[in-house]
Every structure is written in C-alpha cells, then in structure tokens.
C-alpha cells in the first residue's frame, strides 16, 4: 500500500507532453503497489496545469506556487517534492526523465534516505525495475532496497496516461526563501525552433558527420520541412557547432522514438543508436555501405546525401 507521487512539468500551465509519460508510469506503479496516485505541479500557473491533469485518476494533485518557484531552482524543487511526499505519505516518487528530475531527484534521494533508479524502462514489481546501462547495451533488472524509492522514467517507454476518476486539487504551502538558495537563477535563453519539439516529434531527420557542416544540415532542414519533421543530430555534429546542442540524439542526449527516423550521413555509433533505436521506422542514407547504421535501418539507401536528399525533397513534393 505504498502511495505514489509523480512530479509533472508544465510550460505556463500546459503540461509538457514528455512529462505525461511519468503519469502513465505512476498509474502502473500504483496498480502494482496497491497505493494511490498523487501528482505534483510546481511553479507559475501550476493551478492551470493541475486542471489539465484532473482526468488521470489521481487521488490528489498538489499545487505549489509562489515567488520561490517562478524560475527553476534545485533547492525549491526538492523542497516542493519533499513536502508533497510528506503530505501524502508517498514511498514511491517519480517523474519522466528531464533536466529538472535528473538534477533534483538524486539530491532528494539522499534527503529522504531513498535509493534511486534512473531512466527506468519498465516495472517488474513495486520495488523492481528495468533500466539501461552501458549506453543501452545492457538492460539491468534492479531492486531499490530502501523504503522510499525514487525513479526517473524514460518517456518513450511509457505511452500517454489512461483516463480515470477526477482528481482533487489541493494547494500546498511550501515555505522556502529564495534568498537562502546557494544556487541562484540568473537567466534563461530559450532556443526557439519553428520545427516540432525533438523529444516528442513523430518524424525526425537526423544528420551526422557525413553532412560535413551547417550547409549540409540546410539540406536536411529542407527534408524536415517537407515532411513536418524535427531536426536531430549526432554528438559529432553538435560538438562541431553545426546545430544546436539540444538537438543531440543519443546516450548522452535525447532519447527519441518517433514513427519515422531519417539517419542521414550518420555512421551509427552505439552512443547514437542508444538514443533512437526505439523508432518505428528507420531510414538510413549513407555513402558507406558498411556503416553500422544499416544494421538497424528498415530501409537503407547507399548514396551521397548531397545528391539523394535534394532528390528526396523533390520526390516528396511531387506528392
């Protein structure tokens, strides 16, 4: 009978799609533990986000708002989750893996004497989970041996949450003084894109070293725009500054699982494969027929991308 608490992130009151997978995980976990599902939303317009999350069968949705929660702060987030866990007696605390949960949850784990499993792929029982190690080359079955258990969850492994009974929304007062924070927010620079969000896009066009530079990526962008896809990249392409850092797909970047993934000029290093091999359909375009990417591709085209991609764009425009 362990209660479950899920932190759900939102942007100006709209729940983030990537974060909803955490609720799905919470629903499954509550079913295994026999406890009740509780949700937590934090920050400006959290009450609006709570309204949008009412129909997922949670017992309660805690709303934490106030001056300390306007910008992200590790210390404020830990305090909010700790307070909500205390309020509902949660022994299982989780969220979809994100820069917020990856930063704050390990800190919270020490505070609560909890063990933590990162990037969980599946639930075995209320204390046993599967998670990736060595860039996803190993799936480990792990048992969290502590009474309180914390997980971050790989969003692509859990679909959208099921509808359920309406939740009760409850404001929660968390007294923290931003003046005492040891790490203080200074500024945020948003990377804006006209294209779909990489993490949740149904289609992705990704480029690697073979694109040879920002110019090569222009071709990929034309393809992306022709099919309404997001742009992704390998670590090498991001390191070289050809595209923004947050477009990196792989072990150390974003984990994606779109319906269609174009890997263009991508050799297929295991670190990259770790981030995209859950895609439904993979297309590889590479001039090296021996490139490892062809071993995971449903459709491979051995060709020079500088010829094949414009041809592909033209073919798609024919309709």
């Amino acid at each position: 009978m362990s209660n479950v608490l899920i932190l759900v992130e939102h942007a100006a009151g709209t729940p983030k799609k990537t974060s909803l997978a955490g609720i799905t995980f919470g629903q499954q976990l509550a079913a295994k533990s026999g406890g009740a599902l509780h949700l937590l939303v934090v920050g400006k317009e959290a009450a609006k986000a709570a309204e949008a999350l009412k129909a997922f069968g949670a017992a309660k949705i805690y709303v934490v708002d106030g001056p300390a929660f306007v910008s992200y702060s590790t210390e404020a987030t830990c305090a909010a989750v700790e307070a909500a866990a205390k309020a509902c007696g949660a022994k299982l605390i989780a969220a979809a893996a994100s820069s917020t949960s990856k930063d704050s949850f390990p800190r919270l784990a020490i505070r609560l004497g909890a063990g933590m499993a990162s990037d969980v792929l599946g639930i075995v029982d209320a204390k046993t989970f599967t998670r990736p190690m060595w860039a996803g080359n190993v799936v480990a079955k792990v048992e969290i041996a502590t009474e309180v258990k914390i997980c971050t969850v790989r969003g692509t492994e859990f679909g959208p949450p099921a509808a359920g009974a309406s939740a009760q929304v409850e404001p929660l007062n968390v007294a923290v003084d931003p003046a005492t924070f040891k790490a203080k927010f200074v500024s945020f620079k948003e990377i804006k894109s006209e294209r779909p969000d990489l993490a949740i896009a149904a289609r992705i066009v990704a480029g690697g070293r073979g694109t040879k530079g920002a110019e090569g990526f222009k071709l990929l962008e034309q393809l992306a725009d022709a099919i309404g896809a997001a742009i992704g990249a390998t670590r090498a392409a991001c390191d070289a500054g050809w595209v923004a850092n947050d477009l990196q797909v792989g072990q150390t970047g974003k984990i994606v699982a779109p319906d269609l993934y174009f890997a263009i000029g991508v050799s297929g290093a295991i670190q990259h494969l770790a981030g995209m091999k859950g895609s439904k359909v993979i297309v590889a375009i590479n001039k090296d027929p021996e490139a490892p990417i062809f071993q995971v591709a449903d459709y491979g085209l051995v060709a020079d991308l500088f010829k094949a991609v414009p041809e592909l764009v033209a073919e798609l425009k024919k309709g």
């Binding site: 992200y72 933590m116 190993v138 041996a145 790490a183 390191d239 850092n245 150390t252 359909v281 491979g300």
Partner: protein, 288 residues
C-alpha cells in the same frame, strides 16, 4: 597513508591561505571514474551476473575528463590546486595518473572492488571533500557504465552545498573561445557563474562557493597528457583510503539482480534509389 608533499603556496584552502580570502586562488576537487572503453563492445556474461571483462580496456569516464580539463583551466587562471579523487579498484590508479598527467596536482584514491552504487560513492566522496575542503567540486554529469547520473547531486546534498548540473557553454567546441582554452565557468568573489544545458535552452546560474558543478559534453575539449606531463605524474602523490573507512556505514541502495541484452532490431533492406525509397515508405511502411 602519507600526506601531500606540495608547497603550501599552492594550497587554496581559505583558512590558511591569505590569497584565497581575496578570492584569487581556487582549490578544486575533481572526480574521475574508471569505466569501460566506450569503443569496445559490451558483452554480458552467460549467467547475466555482469559483463565480460576479458580483454576489456578502461578509460577515464569521458565526462570526468571534461571536468578535469575545466578544473585545470580554472587553476591556471586563478592559481590554486587541483585534487583528483577516485573511488574504485586498485587498477583505477591508472585513471588518476591520467588526470595527474593532464596536469592535476595530486590524487586521493578510495579503494574498493565493489560495483559502485551512487549512494555509497557519494558518501565516500563527502568524507574526502570534508578532509580536503575544496572551494569547488567538479564532476562528470554521469558515468558511461551505470548511466545513473546521480553521484554529483547526491554529494552536494550530503555536503549541504549548492549544485549546478549539466554545465555547458553556448559557443561551439570549434569556437575561438574554446581554442583560447579559457574556462567556461567564471569565478569571482566566491561565486561561480555557470551556464547549464537544460531542456529547451541554456540557463545561467550563480553558485555560491563552496559548491558543486557537474559537466556536460560541450563544456570543453579535454587536453591530452603530454610526455613531460606523464613523467611528472609518476612522482605526484596519490593518497589511498579504504572505502569501508570513509562511507560512514552507507550501503548500496540499488541492487542489480541481473543483466540482459536489449531487444535487437532486425536489419531491413537496402533500396536502389530515391523513388523506390519513397514508394516503400508510402506503401509498405505507411510512414509517409
């Protein structure tokens, strides 16, 4: 167990160094973990109890190498000392030597043969930090073996320090700024200004020191150890401690019950040309 043989002028301990009080020197503790070479394929033992270690090569966790590089750049700018801390097997002294050869001043090695659990590692490192009293702890954001990514934040909580995860920089690794080997982390008046990579953009945070920072891939390009650096590293001190003596009774919070390979994807087909590809995607895969 011997203590460091380093000139007191290189110490950045604010308690005994008047220069540190002006905020001019910085004592940095940076952690390194011995991990499997990411270029070598990981094979799981037949009984699923672990991975095959025959003919395995080991390296410094790539994220930690970036942390070492940033520590060295900060020391070269502000003066002070870089201490390399490692929790791991006896063989991991090789990874400490690598960091010393890059230019770190001395090492602390917490010896254990156990598979490292972040709860235990962070407890051991908390003891080391308590003894060394650095101004700043720099760590990789995750180790590429267990991929847990927890030890940094856990250590910060144990110390009661502020933390900044995923330190990065906006400019590329091929920028002039990077080529000039300047530290991306800016320290002045006991505050470190750090830019971190977060979902959807970059966030800048002011971290009061002492504090802890974990680093992303794109913070810098780590240097190679020079030959003179390798020679010098052989003479640098590595203090050894036993894990059981420094964890304060912390035990592994997560047990690994077994390992299996991930589901394998079947290789598909090669297509002749672009029109065939488009036709297959439309009619067969129904993906367009």
């Amino acid at each position: 167990m011997t203590h460091c043989i380093i000139s007191p002028s290189l110490r950045g301990d604010p308690n005994d160094n008047p220069k540190a009080k002006e905020g001019s020197t910085v004592k940095i503790l940076v952690t390194v973990k011995m991990v499997e070479d990411p270029e070598i394929k990981i094979k799981i033992k037949a009984d699923g109890s672990g991975i095959e270690t025959d003919q395995m090569k080991y390296v410094v966790n790539p994220f930690d190498e970036i942390a070492v590089e940033e520590a060295l750049r900060l020391r070269d700018l502000h003066k002070g000392e870089v201490i390399v801390a490692c929790v791991g097997k006896k063989d991991a002294s090789q990874q400490i030597r690598t960091a010393l050869a890059m230019g770190a001043d001395r090492g602390v090695h917490v010896l254990t043969d156990d598979f490292l659990d972040p709860t235990v590692t962070s407890a051991a490192l908390a003891k080391v930090v308590g003894d060394e009293k650095p101004d700043l702890v720099l760590m990789g954001k995750q180790a590429i073996d267990d991929d847990q990514g927890q030890t940094g934040a856990m250590l910060a909580e144990r110390l009661g320090w502020g933390q900044v995860s995923f330190a990065s920089k906006e400019v590329s690794l091929e920028s002039e700024e990077e080529k000039a080997k300047k530290p991306a982390i800016q320290i002045a008046n006991n505050v470190a200004q750090v830019t971190r990579e977060v979902d959807g953009g970059f966030e800048t945070v002011a971290l009061s020191l002492p504090g802890l920072i974990t680093v992303e891939l794109r913070l810098n390009v780590p240097r190679y150890a020079s030959l003179p650096g390798i020679m010098k590293a052989k003479k640098k001190e590595i203090k050894e401690l036993q894990l059981s003596a420094v964890t304060g009774g912390a035990s592994a919070a997560v047990k690994i019950l077994g390992m299996t390979p991930p589901a394998q994807r079947q290789a598909g087909i090669k297509v002749e040309d672009v029109p065939t590809l488009v036709a297959k995607l439309k009619n067969e895969a129904k993906a367009l």
